[in-house]
C-alpha cells in the first residue's frame, strides 16, 4: 500500500514538473490544448518557421509572434462544461 502511495506521489510530482504528462483521466480538451500549445511554442522558437508564417501573412515577425502567443491562451476553444454526475 505504501508503495502504491509513493508511486502515486511520484507521478504527481512528475506531472507538475513536466507539463503535458498525461494520466488515465486526461481529457480530450487537456490533451489537444497541450499539443496545440506545444506546436505554437515550436513555431515561435524556430525562427525560419516564424518567418515563413509572417511572410504568408504579410506582417512583421513580432506581430506574428504576439498573435501566436495570444493563441496559446486558449488554443482549442473553451473547455467543455463540467459535469458532476457520477
Amino acid at each position: 500500500m505504501a508503495d502504491k502511495l509513493r508511486a502515486q506521489q511520484q507521478l504527481e510530482a512528475l506531472q507538475s514538473r513536466f507539463i503535458g504528462t498525461g494520466n488515465a483521466d486526461t481529457t480530450r480538451f487537456e490533451w489537444t490544448s497541450n499539443i496545440a500549445r506545444d506546436s505554437i511554442a515550436s513555431y515561435i522558437g524556430h525562427p525560419p518557421m516564424l518567418q515563413y508564417m509572417s511572410i504568408g501573412l504579410g506582417q512583421p515577425k513580432e506581430k506574428t509572434r504576439v498573435q501566436l502567443i495570444d493563441r496559446m491562451i486558449q488554443p482549442v476553444g473553451p473547455p467543455p462544461p463540467v459535469c458532476w454526475v457520477r
Binding site: S16, F18, I19, S33, R37, D38, A41, S42, I44, G45, H46, P47, P48, M49, Q51, Y52, S54, I55, G56, L57, G58, Q59, P60, K61, E62, K63, R65, V66, I69, M72, I73, Q74, G77, P78, P79, P80, P81, V82
Partner: protein
C-alpha cells in the same frame, strides 16, 4: 583582443537537452546591465536565473540556477532593469491563463489580464522573489529599459498596440505616462489602424541624457525622449524620426551609425546626420493622452517623408528570405547562374547569383592596336612602385611609362620592332627583355626630368644560336632560364655587376619546351633553388639550380600529366601549415586543367596535388597580389583566381566576375594597385575587393512578395507571380489618391499635392485582410529589369504559375496563373478561385489575358504536362486542355491527396504530387483510356509538410519540408514496374487502399535536418562539364548542394571523418549542441554526411587536424583528407 576573431567558449551550462520547446528556457534572455545575473525564460512556466561571478579579469563563473517558475503562465517579453548597484531586477510581461482552463463559458479569455511582473534577485540571500506586479494593456508586447541609478528614473517603457507607456516598480496609475503611436497621414491610409512597436533601442548620451528609437510595424522610426527632474519623469515625448525597413533589431553605434538588421532583404548601415531635433515633424507628449488606451483621445498623425536624419552608407547583401530559385544558364556563360526571387513586400528582389569574386574596375583605356601580352616592371630593385608597362603587340613592343599619367616612352633601350617574350628587372639597376632572337640587357634606364625619352648607360645583346629561337623563359631578379626551339635550356645568373653570366652546363631535353618556371628569390638567399620545365611529352621536370649541389642542372623529379603543359609558375602562398606558407607549383595544361602541387623546399618533390578543370582553353598564369597575399590569376576561357581564403587559409579557386582577358600582370603603382590586363585593344586595371565571399549577385527590384518563379529558357525571361497579404493593391491606392485629390481640390481649389513616397522605403499602403498581387516579366540578361507588370484586381492573389505549350493550340505558349480571391489562412477561406490563362507573345516579353476558368478550390499547383495543363485544385488533381473560352477538363482525380496539393513534378507519365502536410504521392497518368485516368498508386508513411520536391530519377524524389528537413524517398521497384504495366490502369484502380492512403508506400532513402526551410530544389550541374547535384535554396537565404558519392571508398572516408569530428572534444559546435542530435532534430539523420561539419576540418590548425586523423579507425593522412574534401567541392560545386 586576440587576433583570431573567433568566439571562444568560456563556460557552458546545460539546462535543457530536448531542443527548442515550450518549457525549455531560452526563448527569452535578459541580462542585468551591470552583468551580475542572467535570466532565461521559456514561453511558458519556466524561468531560470543564473548569478554570474567574476574572478579576476576574464574568468566568469556561473552559479547553479535559481528557479522562478509559475505554471500556466505565458511570457511575452523579458527585460533586465537598470537599477544601478541595487539587487538585480527583471521585468517580464506575463499572462496567467489558468482561469481560462476551467471556464467553459469563454468569458475568462476576454478578461484575463496581462501583467508586468518584477522579479528581484536578492544577491545576499541568493534567492529570487516575485517582487511586484501590475496589470498592463492586454496588447503589450515589448519592454525597453529606462536608465536607472542616481538621478535617473529607472523603470520600463512598455509598448503595446497604440501604446508606449512609462512604468516603474511600485507606481500608481497616475504616475504612468502613456503615448499613442503616431499614425501615417495619407489618402491610402486607414486613419483608425493602430500601430505596434516591433523593434527599437535605447541610446544613452554622455551626461545621462538618453533617447529611444522605436520602430512601428510600418517601419516608421520614432524618437522617444523623457522630460525628467532628478529622477522624476514629468512627461515623455514622441516625434517622427525617419522610416527604415522593418527590422529585427536596431543598433546605434558609438561612432554615430545606426545598423538596421532588416527582417528581410539587405541589411543597411546608416549614418546619423542629426538627432531629429531640427525637423519640423509634429511632436506629441504624454500629457495629451489618457493612461487607459481604451479611453478616447485624438489620434496623433504625422506625414512620412524621405530620410532626413539618417543617410545610408553601406549595404550588407542578404537574400533572406528566398521564395523560389532556379539554376540555369540564361547568360550563356561557362557556369550556370542561380536565379532567386527573394525578399518580402516592396523590398522584394530578383537576384542573379554567380560563383565569382567581385573585382573593382580601376582603369579602362584603349590601345592603338591589339596587344598580346603585358608586363610591368620597376627600374631599380629598390623601387617601391612599377615604373614601366611593356605591351607586346602582334609584331612590335610598346613601352609605357607610369608617372602622374601613363605616356609612351622613347629611347628606353628596349627592342621595339620585335615581339617580346618577357621583361624582368634584373640585378640592381638593369632590365632584361627576352625576345625570340635573344636577350636585350639594359643598364640604368632613367628618365631625367620625367621626360618621355629615357637614357640608358649600356645596352648588351645576347643572341640565340643560329637557326634557333627562344621559345620560353623563366626569371627572377637574379636568375634567368631560357628555352630554345631545339629543346635546350640555357641558365644565366646575375653577376656582381648585374650582367648575365651563363652557366657552363646546359640542359638538353630533346623535347619541345613549352614552359619554364623559377620562383622569386627568397629573402636572404642568392637564388631560388628549383626550376620546373614543362615539355611537349606531357611531363613536368624539376631541375636543381644550386651550383653547390652535385645535381646542378640535373633533373630531380618528374611528373606525368594528362596533357601538354601550357604554363607554370612557382610561388610562396599562405596556407594552414605550421609555417604559415608553402612553396607551390602551379601547372596549367592546354586542356584547361589547372593543377596545384606543393613543391618540397629541400627535395624538390611534388606533393599534395589538386586538380581542377577550369575551362576549355589553354591555361596561362599571372602571379599577383590580391588583398595583401600572393595569389595566381589563372586565365583560360575565363579568368580565375587561385588564392588562400583570408579567414580559413584554405586553398580556393574562384572565377573572377570580369571579362576574359589574354594576359595579365601584377601592377603596383603609386596611386593604384591591382592587376593589369589586356584584352583585344584594351588595357584594363582592376583590383580585388573582398576574397571572403565567392559569390556575386545582381538584383532587380520587384513590386510585391514573389511567390513563384517560372522560366522561359528560349526567350531568356522569367515570369514572377507576386502577392502581398494585408496590403492595398495599386488600383485601389490610385483611386483613393484620386478621390482624395478631388476632395482636396474642392476644398482648396488647388491641384492635389503629389506625394512621392517610394514603396521601397515606405512599403505599400496596408489594410487588414486585403491582398495585392501582380505578375511581372523579368529580363535578367539584356535589360536587367522588369519589362512588364500585370496588376491583378483588388483582393486577388496569384498563388501558382506554369508555362504551358498547349498541344491543341499548335504548341503556343501560355502562362497559366492560379488566382485566389479574398484568401485568408486562419481559418483557411476564400471567396472564389480561378486559373487565368495568359497568351505569351513570340518573344516571351508580353502577356495578354486569354481567358479565365473558375475552379472550386484554390489551384496551388500548376504544371505543363503532355501538352496540357495539370492543376492541383484543393486536394483534387485535374488535367485541363485549352478551349476557346475556358479550360476543358480532360481527367480528374478527386481527393488525390489528403490536404491540399501544393506542388507537381513530372517525368514521362508519372506525376509527383506534393501535399501540404502529407508528404508526396506518386500518380500515374493513363492516356489511352477515355476519359484519361490519373491514378495515385504510392504515398509516404510520414506526414511531411512538403515545401518543394524534385525527381532525382524516375523512382526517386527529393524534397524539403516546413520544419527544415531535406529528404529523399524512393518507390519500390516492383510497385514502380506495376504502375507502368497496363495501358488502362484497371488493376491499379482495383488495388485496395492501404490504411486510408494509396495502395503502396515509398521507402525513405535519406533524411537530414538543415535548420532552414528548403523552398526550392533542382537537380542540376553547377559547373561547366560538372556532374549533377541536388541544389536547394532555403527560406533564410541558404544555398546548398547535395552531392552524390560515386565510390564506396570515398563514402567510408567521409563517414569516418564525420564520426571523428562529431566526437572530437575540442571541436564542438559553437552552440554547444550535439551534432548527431542536431542533424536528427525531427527524424534520425539517414544516408547523408554533413558537408558543413566535414569542411570545418579544413579550417582547423594542423595539430588539431592530426589529432582527428589519429582518432580515425583507418589510417589516412591530413593531406589525403584535405584533398578529398577539396575535390568534393571542386568537382561538383564551388
Amino acid at each position: 583582443m586576440p587576433e583570431e576573431h573567433k568566439l571562444k567558449e568560456i563556460h557552458a551550462e546545460t539546462y535543457g537537452k530536448s531542443g527548442i520547446r515550450r518549457v525549455v528556457p531560452g526563448e527569452y534572455m535578459a541580462v542585468d546591465p551591470k552583468g551580475r545575473a542572467v535570466m532565461l525564460a521559456s514561453l511558458e512556466k519556466n524561468k531560470l536565473v543564473y548569478i554570474l561571478t567574476r574572478n579576476g579579469e576574464n574568468v566568469i563563473s556561473i552559479s547553479s540556477p535559481l528557479e522562478a517558475h509559475k505554471p500556466q503562465t505565458l511570457v511575452y517579453y523579458l527585460l533586465g532593469l537598470d537599477v544601478g548597484y541595487e539587487n538585480p531586477l527583471f521585468a517580464a510581461l506575463e499572462l496567467d491563463y489558468s482561469s481560462c482552463e476551467v471556464d467553459p463559458t469563454g468569458t475568462a479569455v476576454q478578461e484575463v489580464e496581462k501583467e508586468l511582473v518584477y522579479y528581484e534577485l536578492d544577491l545576499g540571500l541568493n534567492h529570487i522573489v516575485r517582487k511586484w506586479s501590475e496589470p498592463v494593456d492586454r496588447s503589450a508586447n515589448m519592454l525597453f529599459r529606462v536608465p536607472g541609478g542616481p538621478n535617473a528614473p529607472s523603470g520600463v517603457l512598455c509598448c503595446g498596440e497604440d501604446t508606449i507607456a512609462y512604468r516603474r516598480i511600485f507606481n500608481n496609475a497616475s504616475k504612468v505616462h502613456r503615448l499613442a503611436i503616431p499614425r501615417r497621414e495619407g489618402p491610402a491610409e486607414d486613419p483608425n489602424r493602430k500601430r505596434m512597436i516591433v523593434a527599437g533601442t535605447l541610446y544613452t548620451l554622455k551626461g545621462g541624457q538618453f533617447f529611444y528609437l522605436l520602430q512601428s510595424d510600418d517601419g516608421d522610426v520614432f524618437k522617444v525622449t523623457f522630460d525628467t527632474q532628478g529622477g522624476n519623469v514629468d512627461r515623455i515625448k514622441i516625434k517622427y524620426f525617419d522610416t527604415l525597413p522593418v527590422a529585427m533589431s536596431i543598433c546605434i553605434l558609438k561612432a554615430g551609425f545606426v545598423f538596421c538588421a532588416c527582417e528581410s532583404g539587405d541589411r543597411i548601415l546608416y549614418e546619423l546626420e542629426s538627432l531629429g531635433e531640427e525637423t519640423d515633424d509634429p511632436e506629441y507628449d504624454s500629457t495629451q493622452f489618457p493612461v487607459d488606451p481604451t479611453k478616447s483621445f485624438s489620434a496623433p498623425f504625422f506625414k512620412p517623408r524621405p530620410l532626413k536624419n539618417l543617410v545610408p552608407v553601406e549595404v550588407l547583401p542578404s537574400m533572406n528570405p528566398i521564395m523560389d530559385m532556379e539554376v540555369s544558364n540564361y547568360a550563356e556563360e561557362d557556369a550556370p547562374q542561380i536565379y532567386t526571387v527573394s525578399g518580402s513586400g516592396a523590398r522584394s528582389t530578383f537576384r542573379t547569383t554567380r560563383n565569382a569574386l567581385e573585382v573593382l574596375d580601376l582603369v579602362e583605356s584603349p590601345l592603338p592596336q591589339q596587344a598580346v601580352s603585358v608586363w610591368t616592371t620597376k627600374m631599380l630593385v629598390t623601387d617601391e612602385f612599377d615604373a614601366l608597362i611593356v605591351l607586346c603587340m602582334l609584331a612590335s613592343t610598346l613601352i609605357l611609362k607610369v608617372g602622374e599619367d601613363v605616356t609612351q616612352a622613347f629611347n628606353t633601350g628596349f627592342l621595339e620592332d620585335t615581339t617580346t617574350l618577357g621583361v624582368q628587372q634584373f640585378g640592381e639597376d638593369c632590365i632584361i627583355q627576352i625576345h625570340p632572337r635573344g636577350i636585350r640587357h639594359i643598364r640604368q634606364l632613367q628618365f631625367p626630368n620625367d621626360d618621355e625619352a629615357g637614357t640608358t648607360q649600356d645596352l648588351t645583346d645576347w643572341h640565340a644560336p643560329v637557326h634557333r629561337t627562344v621559345v620560353s623563359y623563366a626569371s627572377n631578379n637574379r636568375q634567368l632560364a631560357i628555352a630554345l626551339s631545339s629543346g635546350d635550356i640555357l641558365y644565366f645568373e646575375c653577376d656582381a655587376d648585374g650582367s648575365l653570366a651563363k652557366a657552363e652546363d646546359e640542359v638538353s631535353i630533346g623535347q619541345n619546351v613549352t614552359c619554364i618556371a623559377i620562383a622569386d628569390v627568397p629573402e636572404g638567399y642568392v637564388r631560388s633553388r628549383w626550376m620546373a620545365v614543362g615539355t611537349s611529352d606531357q611531363m613536368i621536370r624539376l631541375y636543381d639550380l644550386s651550383p653547390e649541389s652535385d645535381q646542378f642542372l640535373q633533373c630531380v623529379s618528374v611528373q606525368q600529366l594528362t596533357a601538354v603543359p601550357s604554363a607554370l609558375t612557382i610561388c610562396q602562398m599562405k596556407d594552414n601549415t605550421q609555417a604559415g606558407s608553402s612553396q607551390y607549383l602551379h601547372i596549367g595544361l592546354r586542356s584547361g586543367v589547372y593543377i596545384r602541387s606543393v613543391l618540397e623546399e629541400y627535395s624538390g618533390e611534388l606533393a599534395d596535388t589538386r586538380r581542377r578543370f577550369l575551362g576549355p582553353a589553354a591555361v596561362k598564369f599571372a602571379k599577383v597580389n590580391a588583398a595583401g597575399e600572393t595569389a595566381v590569376v589563372v586565365m583560360t576561357s575565363r579568368p580565375w583566381l587561385s588564392y588562400a581564403h583570408p579567414h580559413t587559409s584554405s586553398f580556393c579557386t574562384t572565377p573572377l566576375h570580369y571579362i576574359p582577358f589574354e594576359s595579365a600582370w601584377n601592377f603596383e603603382g603609386a596611386a593604384i594597385k591591382g592587376v593589369i590586363c589586356v584584352t583585344g585593344n584594351e588595357l584594363r586595371i582592376f583590383s580585388f575587393k573582398d576574397l571572403t565571399s565567392n559569390t556575386v549577385s545582381q538584383s532587380i527590384p520587384l513590386r510585391y512578395t514573389p511567390r513563384k518563379l517560372v522560366g522561359f529558357p528560349e526567350n531568356r525571361v522569367y515570369y514572377v507571380v507576386e502577392s502581398d497579404n494585408n496590403t492595398i493593391d495599386a488600383g485601389t491606392v490610385e483611386s483613393l489618391k484620386k478621390k482624395d485629390g478631388e476632395d482636396a481640390a474642392m476644398k482648396t481649389e488647388e491641384g492635389p499635392e503629389e506625394d512621392q513616397l517610394s514603396p521601397e522605403q515606405f512599403g505599400h499602403p496596408r489594410a487588414n485582410g486585403l491582398w495585392a498581387s501582380c505578375i511581372q516579366i523579368v529580363d535578367p540578361v539584356t535589360e536587367h529589369a522588369v519589362i512588364q507588370t500585370i496588376e491583378l484586381d483588388k483582393d486577388q492573389s496569384a498563388v501558382s504559375a506554369a508555362l504551358v505549350p498547349f498541344e491543341s493550340k499548335n504548341n503556343e505558349y501560355f502562362l497559366a496563373v492560379g488566382v485566389a480571391n479574398q484568401l485568408s489562412f486562419n481559418p483557411y477561406r476564400f471567396k472564389s478561385a480561378s486559373i487565368r490563362l495568359y497568351k505569351v507573345s513570340d518573344d516571351g516579353r508580353k502577356l495578354e489575358l486569354h481567358h479565365q476558368t473558375d475552379t472550386d478550390d484554390v489551384p496551388l499547383a500548376l504544371l505543363a504536362f503532355k501538352g496540357k495543363l495539370l492543376a492541383g485544385v484543393g486536394n483534387n488533381l485535374s488535367l485541363y486542355d485549352c478551349g476557346k473560352r475556358a479550360l476543358l477538363r480532360k481527367a480528374h482525380t478527386a481527393n488525390c491527396t489528403p490536404t491540399r496539393i501544393i506542388g507537381l513534378k513530372t517525368q514521362g507519365s508519372r506525376v509527383i504530387v506534393s501535399d501540404q502536410s502529407q508528404s508526396i504521392t506518386y500518380v500515374v497518368h493513363k492516356e489511352l483510356v477515355h476519359p484519361n485516368r490519373l491514378i495515385p498508386f504510392a504515398d509516404d508513411t510520414v506526414p511531411r509538410w512538403t515545401t518543394c520536391a524534385e525527381m532525382v530519377d524516375y523512382d526517386t524524389v527529393a524534397g524539403g519540408d516546413k520544419f527544415g528537413n531535406l529528404w529523399i524517398v524512393r518507390c519500390p521497384a516492383k510497385v514502380s514496374e506495376a504502375s507502368e504495366e497496363s495501358t488502362d490502369g484497371q488493376h491499379l484502380l482495383q488495388d485496395k487502399s492501404y490504411l486510408n492512403g494509396a495502395p503502396n508506400r515509398v521507402d525513405l532513402v535519406m533524411h537530414y535536418f538543415t535548420n532552414d526551410i528548403p523552398v526550392a530544389m533542382q537537380k542540376t550541374s553547377l559547373l561547366y562539364g560538372g556532374e549533377k547535384v541536388l541544389f536547394w535554396a532555403g527560406l533564410q537565404g541558404s544555398l546548398g548542394a547535395v552531392i552524390p558519392f560515386s565510390s564506396r571508398r570515398e563514402f567510408k572516408k567521409f563517414q569516418q571523418l564525420e564520426l571523428a569530428l562529431r566526437s572530437s572534444k575540442e571541436h564542438k559546435m559553437i552552440s554547444g549542441r550535439d551534432h548527431l542530435a542536431f542533424r536528427s532534430y525531427y527524424t534520425p539523420v539517414k544516408g547523408v554526411i554533413d558537408g558543413d561539419l566535414i569542411e570545418t576540418f579544413l579550417t582547423l590548425p594542423r595539430d588539431e587536424q592530426q589529432g582527428i586523423v589519429a582518432s580515425m579507425a583507418q589510417t589516412y593522412t591530413v593531406e589525403n583528407l584535405e584533398d578529398s574534401i577539396w575535390n568534393m567541392r571542386a568537382l561538383y560545386a564551388f
